[in-house]
């Protein structure tokens, strides 16, 4: 009996050892072109755009991650890339994940062909993980305003929305004009945010907006937490994560989120949207937050990753961002050069002259405050 136990144990140990050593293999670059693409900081380093397209087509694949099709027009942006470069297939992983999921995937899948090539990251997560991103300057680098990009070219802003209130006009008859309106009885059990603010940047931004609208400052978002405490006490806070589906069915009649998402879930969403879903950007202090584009240092398809960035900053894609209600980083330069789609700009509305964006320090102070006070406020 003992001997058989021993044998079973040994068999298990052998299996475990073999399988673990099999996991430890690593991939090596197969050609010099790949190596040079890995370190290229501009298309010129590779010998121009044509050479970059050629190298990217040779790779044949691009891995993107956490890009929901209804978010900032990413569905059209991804299909546009595949139409423009037919030799490259885009693999889009975990569309509903968070910035933290992007970083986790990059770390977990390092050295594998499935690792993400490019990121679209929130600032807080990016600042913690600057060692994961590779410097690269797109050919129209000059079009991105100086304070929208890292001097070392490791990251660059791509687009921002404004925090807005989306509401189902068939349920809410009078449009909200202030955050205080949301405390009224008409909103009982109807106001949702995009998840847990201690987890999701977009949900946290709803709290920051409430802070700015209730006399708080970017340095102190406590008034925003207090606002949600009152919202919960009034019985108006709906603790379910809204999606395009819940808005279409009327399950979440009021959603505080980025304007481009509220717009996408409304009439612009076509058959999967809700035609009665309207978007309001409140008067007073507006809140925006640029997301950052970055290329992974361990990108399995370094040339395709760089081509993707070139594509993202081309006027056609910047206009696609704009069409979704997101203001792209090169908007000012596009307005100057006339490449902006004027009809789209007219329908979306001019970018606000000024909006608040939390600095990295303010964001970490706000996060610390959320960590200690949020759960108690809505508990």
């Amino acid at each position: 009996m003992n001997r058989t136990r021993l044998m079973a144990g040994a068999a298990l140990a052998v299996v475990a050892a073999v399988s673990l050593s099999a996991c430890a293999g690593s991939s090596t670059p197969s050609s010099t072109a790949e190596t040079s693409a890995k370190t290229a900081t501009s298309a010129a380093d590779l010998g121009g755009m044509d050479a970059l397209v050629k190298a990217a087509t040779a790779e044949g694949t691009l891995n993107v991650i956490t890009l929901p099709p209804s978010w900032a027009n990413y569905g059209k942006i991804i299909s546009g890339f595949e139409a423009k470069y037919p030799g490259i297939t885009i693999v889009s992983a975990n569309p509903d994940g968070s910035s933290a999921d992007e970083v986790a995937a990059a770390k977990a899948q390092k050295g594998q062909s499935t690792a993400p090539d490019v990121f679209d990251l929130g600032t807080a997560v990016l600042q913690q993980n600057l060692d994961l991103v590779a410097p690269y300057k797109v050919s129209n680098w000059a079009d991105i305003p100086a304070d929208f990009k890292d001097p070392a070219a490791k990251w660059y802003y791509d687009y921002t929305g404004l925090m807005s209130i989306g509401y189902d006009s068939s349920v809410i008859k009078t449009p909200p004009t202030s955050m205080k309106d949301l405390l009224g009885s008409a909103y009982n059990g109807k106001v949702a945010i995009k998840g847990d603010p201690t987890q999701a940047n977009e949900a946290a931004s709803a709290v920051y907006l409430a802070a700015l609208q209730s006399g708080g400052k970017a340095d102190n978002v406590q008034p925003g937490i207090d606002f949600f405490h009152s919202l919960k006490a009034a019985g108006n806070f709906l603790a379910v994560t809204p999606t395009q589906a819940t808005v279409a069915s009327g399950e979440t009649p009021v959603v505080i989120q980025w304007s481009y998402n509220n717009l996408a879930w409304g009439a612009a969403g076509g058959s999967s949207g809700n035609a009665n879903f309207k978007t309001v950007v409140l008067p007073g202090t507006a809140l925006g937050s640029y997301y950052n584009q970055a290329i992974s240092t361990d990108a399995p398809h370094p040339a395709a990753a760089r081509l993707w960035e070139e594509y993202i900053y081309s006027p056609e894609v910047q206009n696609l961002y704009l069409a979704s209600g997101a203001y792209p980083a090169t908007l000012a330069a596009m307005q100057t050069s006339g490449t902006v789609d004027k009809t789209v700009l007219a329908s979306v509305g001019e970018a606000p002259a000024s909006f608040v964006q939390l600095t990295a320090d303010q964001a970490s102070a706000a996060a610390a405050l959320l960590k200690s006070n949020w759960a108690a406020a809505i508990g």
């Binding site: 929130g122 949702a192 995009k194 847990d196 399950e251 964001a363």
Partner: protein, 308 residues
């Protein structure tokens, strides 16, 4: 129960085991290797890695600082919610499931009804996660069929669209009881039915011959025999809802039970560098499960004793 237990007869398999050649036994162990490999790769190693991550900080140095999570009232509150939710759904599910099993005793084993209930239970016990959540959103969500019907007959505010003045019941922790019971009851039927079927009709006849009533049959014979199996199933049900994640994740956006707290720590993009706290929370869950599973195996041993 201080019954004098006769020495258990020697199990049949150990007698035949002695006659098997060692080489045959070795082959039998070899046959176990694929399954063992699977368990090690997909269960043991990930579990060890997950729990071990709790002992390191985000830079990879050894630390015990993550255990400070257990001084956080929010985390403790989440543990409390998890425990009462699991206990309640386990007890209610076990009682309802046992009643169904009792009702099925009256039917013969080979009838269509019994087979239908059996296969329905097998399917529904595994019906969880997003599908289950959406099934209940469509039924008792704010736009749910049942909710709308209640509104249409005059209950404009009812338990489903305003529970405890906190909005819809389904999106609060107490509301999780309803979808959880949906998979707890079938699981109880599945695990408890074999024990109920093990009741021999000869015992009922002996009881009747000796002048016992139906009542004494259940109190003196049925209940003592079924008790270990019942409590074993109860523990299994507790573990089942304690570890459920996907259903709650689809319904509740603000943490509230431990699996959701783990999600929050792992994927947070606002509070960075707390992913390792998830390992500590996982360890807490593992400790609860180890305690329960030890109790379960003790009960299993008791439960199988009388069949010899």
């Amino acid at each position: 129960m201080t019954a004098i237990v006769a020495a258990p007869p020697v199990p049949v398999d150990s007698i035949s085991d002695a006659g098997v050649l060692p080489r045959r036994r070795c082959a039998a162990w070899l046959g176990l290797v694929p399954f063992s490999a699977y368990v090690v790769l997909f269960l043991a190693i990930p579990a060890v890695l997950a729990v071990a991550s709790g002992f390191f900080d985000s830079t990879g140095d050894f630390t015990l600082a993550n255990f400070a999570a257990y001084t956080n009232p929010t985390i403790l509150g989440n543990f409390f919610s998890s425990l009462w939710l699991s206990a309640l759904t386990a007890v209610v599910g076990a009682i309802l499931g046992a009643l169904i099993c009792y009702a099925m005793l009256g039917t013969r084993a080979e009838t269509g009804l019994r087979r239908t209930v059996d296969s329905a239970s097998s399917v529904l016990a595994q019906f969880g996660g997003v599908m289950l959540a959406f099934a209940f959103i469509a039924t008792i969500g704010t736009q749910g069929v049942l909710t709308k019907w209640l509104v249409s007959i005059g209950f404009t505010t009812n338990i489903f669209n305003n529970f405890n003045n906190n909005g819809p019941l389904l999106y609060q922790i107490p509301g999780l009881v309803i979808p959880y019971l949906y998979f707890q009851v079938p699981l109880m039927v599945l695990t408890f039915m074999p024990a109920v079927e093990g009741l021999k009709s000869t015992w009922a006849e002996a009881n009747a011959t000796l002048g016992g009533t139906r009542f004494t049959y259940w109190t003196r014979i049925g209940a003592p025999i079924l008790a270990p199996a019942f409590f074993g199933s109860l523990i299994l049900l507790f573990a089942n809802s304690f570890s459920s994640y996907a259903t709650a994740a689809a319904l509740i956006s603000q943490g509230g039970i431990i699996p959701l707290a783990i999600r929050q720590q792992l994927t947070s993009e606002t509070i960075v560098g707390v992913a390792n706290v998830a390992g500590v929370l996982a360890l807490g869950m593992v400790v609860v499960m180890i305690v329960l599973m030890s109790a379960y195996s003790v009960l299993q041993r008791r439960a199988s004793r009388w069949r010899r």
